[in-house]
Amino acid sequence: MKIVFDAGVLIGFSETCLLSLFKTLKENIGEFIVTKGVKAECIDRVKNNMRFKLSAFRIQDQLDNFVFKVQDGSEELDIKTKRILQLTNSLFTINNRPLKLVDFGEAESLAMLGLCKASCLAIEERTTRMIVENPHALLKILKKKHHNKNILFLENKYLKFLEEIGTVKCIRSVDLIAYAYENRLLPSFMLEKQYLKSMLYSLKFNGCSVSFNEIEDYLSSFE
């Protein structure tokens, strides 16, 4: 299976010192791909900032060791990215004006899925994930946060968006760690349930969009 990674999952793994697990995960799952934009976001943008330089070095190491393939940009990618950006940023309207929800980086990762025939997007944040999987759930959040202003979801735009990206599934860092745990791909000292729990919580506290309930439900499935 091919997985396109958004910057958030790489940052989450780096901040929790779990980056070394990617090598084993890749060997057992398939191909891990990042766009040039994601590379720039994780490395180039922060490499001169001492607060994040270590994280940039760690992620660069993953690229140097060919754990991730950095997919070159192309005219085709640019055109598809622009189409996806245009569609995602007009899926919802507020008082008849399009609500711009998604940025270039996420749109580029979505565009890359179709171009490299990947069917899975590894993404930490909820908005893009909800647009792909459940836009009605996102509509509820938007209505709640914007105090039920006149917010509409345009189904016809969504169908066009789905045509662009094809059938896509989303996973998060916590799902990859859970997969590694279940398949005993973790180093032996990490195979304790308490270790798993601490990894899942750590990823959550570092920004993975997962709830305490989800984590506890998952852990209880081993009891």
């Binding site: 799952i29 976001e41 929800l101 940025d103 759930a137 914007h146 506290f205 709830s211």
Partner: protein, 198 residues
């Protein structure tokens, strides 16, 4: 007409002149609650309009509120001069806005940001910068409003790493309805990986 920036085709229906007057009044009082209401209003409008200038004014208002909440800053003998400079800069921002001089309007916004940065560096306790912290915190709020993480960061000029950490400390993910469990997603990976299972 209440257009704020030089992109005149950008429709921002918010009374900026009135908002700046309110910022000045509530900064002088000081009324932190009202300043908070103003930064919330600006944030919501900035999101709807996808407008960096409104967001920039929001960041300034938020950071001013944070400065005012720190006694070690407001009780410092230097504060009187600093607050006069801030009010003077806010007055200039208002005048430039009224004159539709958007270039100078933006330059003055940068100037007030610099005053806040210098004040925080000189009198604050933290090595992190108040403006950057404000941007990161507000970006997490923008994410809460339903914008993507990258969009929130680019709108605020915030660092994704730090915004993710703030988001991780909030209840946002716990308030969302989960429509797929970890088990569901692991099953999907299991179904499509290279592992041979007996």
């Amino acid at each position: 007409m209440n257009l704020i920036n030089n992109n005149l085709d950008n429709k921002n229906y918010i009374d900026i002149e009135n908002i700046i007057n309110k910022i000045i009044t509530n900064f002088n009082k000081p009324n932190l609650y009202e300043l908070h209401r103003i930064d919330e209003q600006l944030l919501e409008q900035g999101i709807i309009d996808n407008n960096h200038e409104i967001i920039q004014l929001c960041v300034i208002t938020y950071a001013l509120r944070k400065l005012l909440s720190k006694k070690h800053i407001t009780l410092n003998p230097k504060w009187k001069d600093i607050s006069s400079k801030i009010v003077s800069a806010l007055e200039k921002i208002k005048d430039f806005y009224i004159d539709k001089n958007y270039e100078k309007y933006n330059l003055e916004l940068d100037n007030i940001e610099l005053i806040i940065k210098d004040t925080d560096k000189d009198l604050g306790y933290f090595v992190t910068n108040l403006i950057h912290d404000s941007r990161n915190k507000l970006a997490s709020s923008v994410y809460g409003y339903g914008l993507s993480l990258s969009k929130a960061c680019s709108l605020l000029g915030a660092k994704k790493e730090q915004v993710m950490s703030i988001i991780g400390s909030t209840k946002m993910s716990d308030e969302d309805v989960a429509f797929k469990s970890i088990n569901d997603r692991v099953k999907y990976i299991n179904k499509n990986d290279n592992l041979e299972r007996t």
